[in-house]
Amino acid sequence: MKENLLIWVSLAIILTNLYAISSSRLTYMIKAVAAQGFLLSILPLLLINEKNIIEMLILMFVGVVIKGLVIPHYLLKTIKDIKVQRNVNPLIGFSFSIIYALVTSVLSFYVVKKIGSNHMFSSAQAFVAIATAFIGLYIIVARRNVVSQIIGYLILENSGFILSLSVAVSQPLFVEMGVLLDLLVGVFIMTMAVNHIYSEHNSVEVDSLERLTQ
């Protein structure tokens, strides 16, 4: 049962990655991240035992609310407020992006096979974590828009969360809550920064932010 759930959720997370990297609209990217946040917030179910059932349920609930609802809602509101151009201007074409996603997924699989042969890792989750990290970094670098950089950061942060589940231990609850709080405050501050950028530069393209050099 647990193995089945794990495999389906992992597969679904990989699909959200592909969706985020291949969509041409910011709203679709945000929805992909929302789906991803929802999916990985239910992964702590796999770690439940009698001792930590309450902690895990709290973590799951807070995770779903913050990653699946609050953050995506807030991002959607931001792009609506600043009337951002809804199409993402990619620095690198979409077909290349999909090839990149597939290649890095295969690469992650081999990396995990190589280092994850001991008992410490649950290989499926480590594989998903590394593949997701590649996607997050790619979106930060290749999409020339500050909102998509936030999305890339969220995906990178998600990959850290999956990695922490792959070692099959969770940090004490207050630390996990701290991580989620940081994420929430982080997105809050980044969107405030986006508003500032828009009001000063009248654009949210990264190219307008290249005046400070050397």
């Binding site: 280092i115 001991n118 990290a133 004490p172 940081d182 920064a193």
Partner: protein
């Protein structure tokens, strides 16, 4: 233990009060005095804890999640001093700014005061934490809180600098998160429970999986190194330092970089112990330190903005600290000494550079001439602080750099000595050339006017110069014992 908890609780209360008062309707002058009171209260409240640790050794509280040992209190003392001094400086600096450009919006100053105190609190949490997760959370929170300190006042350039800082550091710290997780994974074997505490990691270091721990350490160095300004992850640093208001640049350079580096210092002994003390972790730091110094050598001569120059100078000094740690032995001792020397002299340099650039209305060093003639006090401070920073004897930075070279000599790494000599001489020449033009030169247009400098800030500057001179000539034995116990923690790990 209860006394320590009460003290910590009252420190928390003082920060809370400070933030509450800052939210009330005061004017700019009153608002800026709040951080001075709070920083002094925090400085005084920490003293008993520091004395207790010096007398009886490490103290851990809240089921060992917070740890006070020699290394931690060394940094805590530094953070408290720098925040106190910079808070006092802020009052005068904002007044100077108001004279030249008109007063800031009060809501700006209010936000500045609140964020300033939160920033101070979070840096202290980073230094106190014994839990690797807590340290990560606090370090990420410092990035988020301090981002908005950069855009006071907000203009297109400062917003660009803030965005770079926010994204580069957040992505860096996300790598740090993976390093944290991998550390837990490395410690997880069938013998012990998963470990989250530094002290326990040191205790069970022989059971940690060495390869996975090395991987974790690489992630940690990349992540925390981004925040501490190690090249090639330093890209945010010159922008943020040049655009932020001067007091913020001073605390960024003076303490924030050290606090991020403190994290690396906590992980280094664990990695070394797990890998059987073969020096792998130290070599990584040595390599990054050398790269940082090379970047500084290349970029320093190109600078015209005085605060950018100081920022690249920070990259150089963080690199030197990393080289010291990488060499080990006396090098570690020298690196810890260098942290204090660099913080003090860099803070003084930023203070004076801030005043000079406000007075001249530009940060461009080609347009600033005859600063000593024009502003005797701040011009002289700038000149001497820069001389200290480039390693003029008999000041303290010369001494700590000399100790690092001595260690390289005794461990037979002559290439590093040659590199270090060439690099420091190159930086010496290029900075001296820039600074001489700024400090002396002829400027007939500006007339000499009487400079108003407060007595408190004057005595603080003289006291800091005195400390820098003293540490260059002779280290008092209680201080050197204290430094030696901190060195022992960096080399052999934190123990209870």
């Amino acid at each position: 233990m209860t006394i320590i908890s009460i003290l910590l609780f009252s420190i928390l209360i003082s920060f809370g009060l400070g933030i509450l008062f800052a939210a009330r309707k005061y004017n700019q002058k009153q608002l800026l005095k709040i951080p001075v009171f709070i920083a002094s209260a925090v400085f005084i409240l920490f003293l008993p804890i520091e004395l207790k640790v010096l007398q009886t050794g490490p103290i851990a509280i809240i089921s060992n999640n917070l740890l006070f040992d020699a290394l931690a209190i060394y940094h805590i003392l530094l953070v408290n001093i720098i925040f106190l001094v910079t808070s006092i400086y802020s009052v005068g600096y904002f007044r100077k700014h108001a004279e030249k450009h008109g007063e800031y919006n009060v809501s700006f100053v209010r936000r500045y005061t609140i964020l300033w105190q939160l920033f101070h609190l979070l840096l202290l949490v980073v230094l106190m934490s014994n839990n690797i997760g807590l340290m990560w959370v606090a370090l990420e929170a410092t990035t988020l809180i301090s981002a908005f300190l950069i855009i006071q006042p907000s203009n297109p350039l400062s917003i660009e600098a803030m965005w770079k800082y926010l994204i580069v550091c957040s992505v860096g710290i996300a790598f740090g998160f993976m390093g944290t997780i991998l550390t837990v994974a490395a410690s997880d074997n069938n013998i012990t429970e998963p470990i989250f505490l530094f002290t326990q990691l040191v205790e069970h270091a022989d059971l940690i999986n060495p390869k996975l721990m090395l991987l974790a350490f690489i992630f940690i160095v990349v992540g925390f190194g981004t925040k501490s300004g190690l090249s090639p992850m330093h890209t945010w640093l010159p922008d943020a330092h040049s655009q932020a208001p001067t007091p913020v640049s001073a605390v960024f350079s003076g303490v924030m970089l050290n606090c991020a580096f403190f994290g690396i210092m906590r992980y280094m002994p664990i990695t070394e112990l797990a890998m059987g003390n073969e020096g792998h972790a130290r070599s990584i730091l040595l390599a990054l330190g050398i790269i940082s110094v090379i970047f500084a050598v290349i970029f320093i001569p190109m600078q015209h903005d005085v605060k950018r120059l100081l920022a690249y100078c920070s990259v150089e000094h963080i690199g030197i600290i990393a080289i010291g740690l990488g060499l080990g032995g006396i090098g570690t001792f020298a690196a810890l000494l260098h942290i204090v020397n660099h913080s003090f002299s860099k803070v003084l340099a930023f203070f004076s550079a801030g005043y000079i650039s406000e007075e001249y209305g530009t940060r461009d060093m080609r347009k600033i001439k005859a600063a000593i003639q024009h502003m005797p006090m701040w011009g002289t401070t700038f000149f001497i602080a820069m001389l200290i920073l480039i390693g003029v004897a008999p000041f303290a930075i010369f001494f700590s750099e000399f100790l690092i070279m001595k260690e390289a000599f005794f461990s037979g790494r002559y290439i590093i000595i040659i590199f270090f000599m060439i690099a420091t001489i190159a930086i010496f020449i290029s900075i001296l050339k820039l600074v001489l033009d700024v400090s002396f030169g002829i400027n007939s247009k500006t007339k000499i006017q009487k400079e108003k400098v407060g007595h408190i800030i004057k005595s603080i500057i003289i006291a800091m110069f005195f400390v820098l001179l003293l540490l260059g000539l002779w280290i008092p034995s209680p201080f050197s014992d204290f430094l030696k116990s901190a060195t022992d923690i960096v080399q052999n790990g934190a123990k209870l």
